[in-house]
Amino acid sequence: MHILKFRRFSLPESQVTPEALVFNRRQAMALGAGMLAAGPALAQQAGLPPAMRNTRYAPGRAITAEREVTTYNNFYEFGSHKTISAAAQRMPQRPWTVKVEGMVETPREFGIEDLLARMPLEERVYRLRCVEAWAMVVPWTGFPLSALLAEVKPLSSARYVVFQTATMPSVMPGLRQSWYPWPYTEGCTIAEAANELSFMVVGAYGKLLPPQNGGPIRFHQPWKYGFKAGKSIVTIRLTDQRPVSFWEKIQAQEYGFWANVNPAVPHPRWSQAQERMLGTGESVPTQIFNGYGDFVAGLYTGLQNERLWA
């Protein structure tokens, strides 16, 4: 006869800590003692693993109120106005996969839960400067793009990284405008992608990234105008051909490939010298590379003939 004996330390399977939570905690701890001094850092909401704040990227400005960031959005698939947050809730966030393909050794398709579990999540408070001359400061949770690219091993011939946003006609009214070059496509050079600031975002304010902000996963390069940051990304492709992005196809005079922030180069229809802070309405001077010149200025050495600022 087989007799089951329950000991004091026995636990039911349902109380075991998920593997993802354990491993991400280890990754977060590995970020180092300097980061332990960070402020409100651990993500609380179920679904977003804990992430320590990385203080290396201090924005030098107050964080914008969450309500402002989550209710004032550009997401052209849902409309050209800023109040698309309600409509964006109809975009399903799970299941969600991101294909990484093209000029890589091992093309792969990642489930979003897989990315949340295996990537080295951290929180970074970044400035975001919209080409429309408004700005915000957001505590994003995510991981360096370079960590994702390391998983697929880019070929040495790859020169550009192209991001494509989801197309869901049933929930995205903007896609009815079939004459536009959907899907929303953006891109950067492989050197820009490898820069430490290039960040794949899966959360904000310690919660899963909401759909109106590009959930469940978006891209962000804080030294560039915001339209360069693809939202709700489904495909990342490495190529040797420079991509022509969505806005570049529509209005190349106004929106170019590089789109680095520069207060001295005005948009054809307005000045870029100042920016309006979301929430406070305060007008502050715009900084070259949005204040991140120490990290990225070297990327553009020898590119004086390129249209770097639009």
Partner: protein, 85 residues
């Protein structure tokens, strides 16, 4: 009134010959890729978002000849009714 209707109907015929059943939006985009984006921004940001989605977008999605054909028919009909007294 009938003259306006006739002109619009001729325009509709011309658009049909030139662009077939291509949507009005696609035709405008071909002529000036930035114009619709500008109009949409003005309508949705300064007037009413739904005005674009529910009124203007269906017009832009229809074949280019439809809007002048409908308007032209309306004007021609009104002109004919007025002429009959």
């Amino acid at each position: 009134m009938r003259l306006i209707g006739l002109v619009l109907l001729l325009l509709a015929a011309g658009l049909f010959v030139m662009f077939g059943t291509d949507p009005l939006g696609a035709v405008l985009f071909r002529l000036d890729p930035g114009i619709l984006n500008l109009v949409q921004a003005v309508v949705q940001r300064y007037l009413l978002p739904m005005l674009w989605d529910d009124v203007l977008l269906p017009v832009l999605e229809a074949p280019a000849f439809v809007a002048p054909a409908v308007l032209g028919s309306g004007f021609a009909l009104l002109g004919w009714m007025r002429a009959r007294g």
